[in-house]
């Protein structure tokens, strides 16, 4: 078990290193360089040279990569062009907003999705099952920002039930939760259908297995069989999918933050692009890649802990 976890974390480290290198190389290969992006069209050659030196762009590529990695390991992602604050500090200040939003969204979606999935599997082919099926398919791929815009229009602008802007007053939990309702609805909605379908399919498979038949033969109540024994296995694909789906969740969060003018990584990136604050853009992208890699790794490890078959298989 431990060796699996260590191997998995090692793989994650390799992938992160490759991803960072790739990102670095892509930035160098594509036309348009950070310096002119940051300085704009009216830059003088002197300004260019000064900034290039400050960012280390005048050194050989391999040295730049090594420097970049060294700095990154020390948590140094460079300086904000305008405020001269460390990029790491700026990005870290926004990460909790984005992660919190994602966590709340996926949590309500998972609870509802798992419940609907279990209901559908147990009452297979009932009217409720079919209704859940059609609704799930319909909402699965509707882009989060469309849901965000529609809910903003209906519930914030027209009905004025929920606030349209911001993340709520700091320290006022009730106000913050009030501000979270619409954004988390937008991000979570498609996941409800997706998780419900996944859980339904894997639950049906698990319910047909031998140990469940045995549990039933022992006369255990159906509720205990489904939630106590079957769900433990049937939930595994959902854990994987949420881990791998972190990329989609992050993308959805970017759009949702913009629509509701919430602080977070997405808002930070867009604001930094408009102000040509390139180090902050890069820092945010790096952090979101890191979040993504960590979440897929965690999903694999949780899976291994929940399911002894995976440990044996690898």
């Amino acid at each position: 078990m431990l060796s699996f976890i260590i191997k998995r974390i090692g793989l994650a480290a390799v992938i992160t290193a490759l991803a960072v290198t790739a990102l670095f190389l892509i930035i160098h290969m594509i036309p348009g360089d950070p310096v002119s992006t940051m300085l704009g069209p009216r830059a003088t050659p002197e300004m260019r040279t000064a900034l290039e030196e400050r960012m280390g762009l005048d050194r050989p590529l391999i040295v730049q990569i090594a420097l970049f990695f060294g700095n990154m390991l020390r948590g140094d992602l460079g300086m904000d062009v305008f405020s001269n604050r460390p990029v790491t500090q700026i990005v870290l200040g926004q990460v909790p907003y984005t992660l919190g939003l994602i966590l709340v969204s996926i949590s309500w979606a998972a609870v509802l999705g798992v419940a609907l999935g279990c209901y559908s599997a147990v009452n297979r082919n009932s009217l409720g099952d079919r209704l859940t099926g059609v609704l799930s398919v319909s909402v699965i791929a509707v882009p989060a920002f469309v849901v965000a815009l529609y809910s903003l229009l209906v519930f914030a602008v027209k009905l004025q039930w929920f606030p349209a802007i911001g993340a709520g007053e700091a320290g006022n939990l009730g106000d913050q939760l009030h501000h979270l309702v619409l954004p988390s609805l937008a991000i979570g909605l498609s996941w409800v259908g997706y998780i419900a379908r996944l859980v339904r399919a894997s639950m049906l498979e698990v319910l047909g297995e031998g140990h469940i038949r045995t549990a039933r033969a022992f006369g255990l109540p159906e509720g205990r069989v489904v939630f106590g024994y079957a769900l433990r296995l049937a939930i595994l694909p959902t854990v994987t999918v949420i881990g791998v789906g972190m990329g989609f969740l992050l993308s959805a969060a970017v759009f949702t933050e913009i629509v509701f003018s919430r602080p977070g990584l997405g808002k930070l990136v867009i604001d930094s692009i408009t102000t040509r604050n390139y180090p902050v853009v890069m820092g945010s992208v790096l952090f979101s890649t890191l979040i993504f890699v960590v979440s897929t790794t965690l999903a694999d490890i949780i899976n291994a802990i929940l399911d002894p078959r995976i440990r044996a298989g690898k």
Binding site: L11, V14, A19, I30, G32, A141, R197, V281, M282
Partner: protein, 292 residues
């Protein structure tokens, strides 16, 4: 793998259509997709107005009257912009998915059929590319080269390759062990022949299903990036830029958001229904693999 899954998709096109129209969701999907594709293809004949013609005196009208879906802040006809926006959506989705399928096939077949070390290398490459959150990655590139549809196409294509590549790799691996392939090999067939004549047709079916389900994702990403101002440049009509106009004018008129979002929701539902139904026909084993 069942016999049905082993036959090329082309030879049973009629059969597939037959099954599709008998499945209510499949039929609904087929109709929606046909309407969307046709309206994009025939946009110049369907759209009642020039989508970029200004008509300021008629700005911000509600639906009805001379303008089916009303007008925007510059008096442009929203319905015409929705129809033309479909063109942009498909102009992005088709090359993106086509390219992703091409490279996914190439890399996936090499990984699935080639030596072990090459397989590990390609899988590692896939895992690395997949570790970039698409939108964040796209934004980083757009920040450097400026907003353009080509950038959007290339970035989404690059990040989609692993999705296709992984499916191709798994299918190739399982086919490699199939008896008819061993028979071919022992008869002296070259690797190139086995790949192109036997493996390729058999992985195409599942890929078509995957592509159908992926189209809404790509269309949604393009619209999302255009919504953020990182995709199409004005005045080109896109569903995303319509939504952006609507967002800025949300307190003046609800109609731009409603009109910009509807085609996105319809595209999503249409292609998802179609993809689901196609999957049930082409390969029931792929159940639960599409979606996210």
């Amino acid at each position: 793998m069942t016999d049905a899954g082993l036959q090329g998709p082309r030879s049973e096109l009629g059969e597939i259509l037959h099954h599709l129209v008998r499945d209510p969701l499949g039929l609904a999907g087929l109709i929606i997709v046909t309407v969307i594709v046709a309206s994009a293809a025939f946009a110049p004949w369907i759209a009642p107005y020039d989508p970029i013609a200004l008509n300021v005196p008629d700005r911000l009208q509600g639906p009805g009257g001379a303008h089916l879906l009303g007008t925007d802040q510059l008096g442009r006809d929203t319905f015409s912009r929705v129809i033309w926006g479909g063109r942009v959506a498909l102009q992005v989705a088709l090359p993106t998915i086509g390219g992703a399928i091409f490279f996914g096939l190439l890399l996936g077949m090499i990984a699935g059929y080639g030596p072990r070390w090459l397989d590990s290398l390609i899988v590692l490459l896939f895992d690395t590319v997949r570790s970039f959150p698409t939108v964040m990655f796209a934004l980083a590139v757009v920040a450097l080269v400026g907003p353009s549809l080509n950038t959007v196409i290339i970035v989404i294509m690059a990040t989609s390759i692993p999705t296709y590549g992984r499916v191709v790799r798994t299918l190739t691996q399982s086919l490699r062990e199939a008896e008819f392939i061993s028979a071919e090999r022992s008869l002296g067939a070259s690797t190139a022949r086995i790949m192109s004549v036997h493996i390729l047709p058999n992985v195409l079916g599942p890929l078509v299903v995957l592509a159908a389900m992926d189209i809404p994702t790509v269309v949604g990403l393009e619209a999302g990036l255009s919504f953020l101002g990182m995709g199409v440049k004005p005045p080109t009509p896109s569903w995303g830029s319509l939504l952006n106009d609507g967002y800025n004018l949300i307190r003046n008129t609800p109609w731009l958001i409603v009109a910009g979002g509807m085609p996105l929701i319809l595209t999503t539902i249409g292609f998802t229904f179609l993809g689901e139904a196609l999957r049930d026909v082409v390969d029931p084993k792929l159940r639960g693999k599409g979606g996210k």
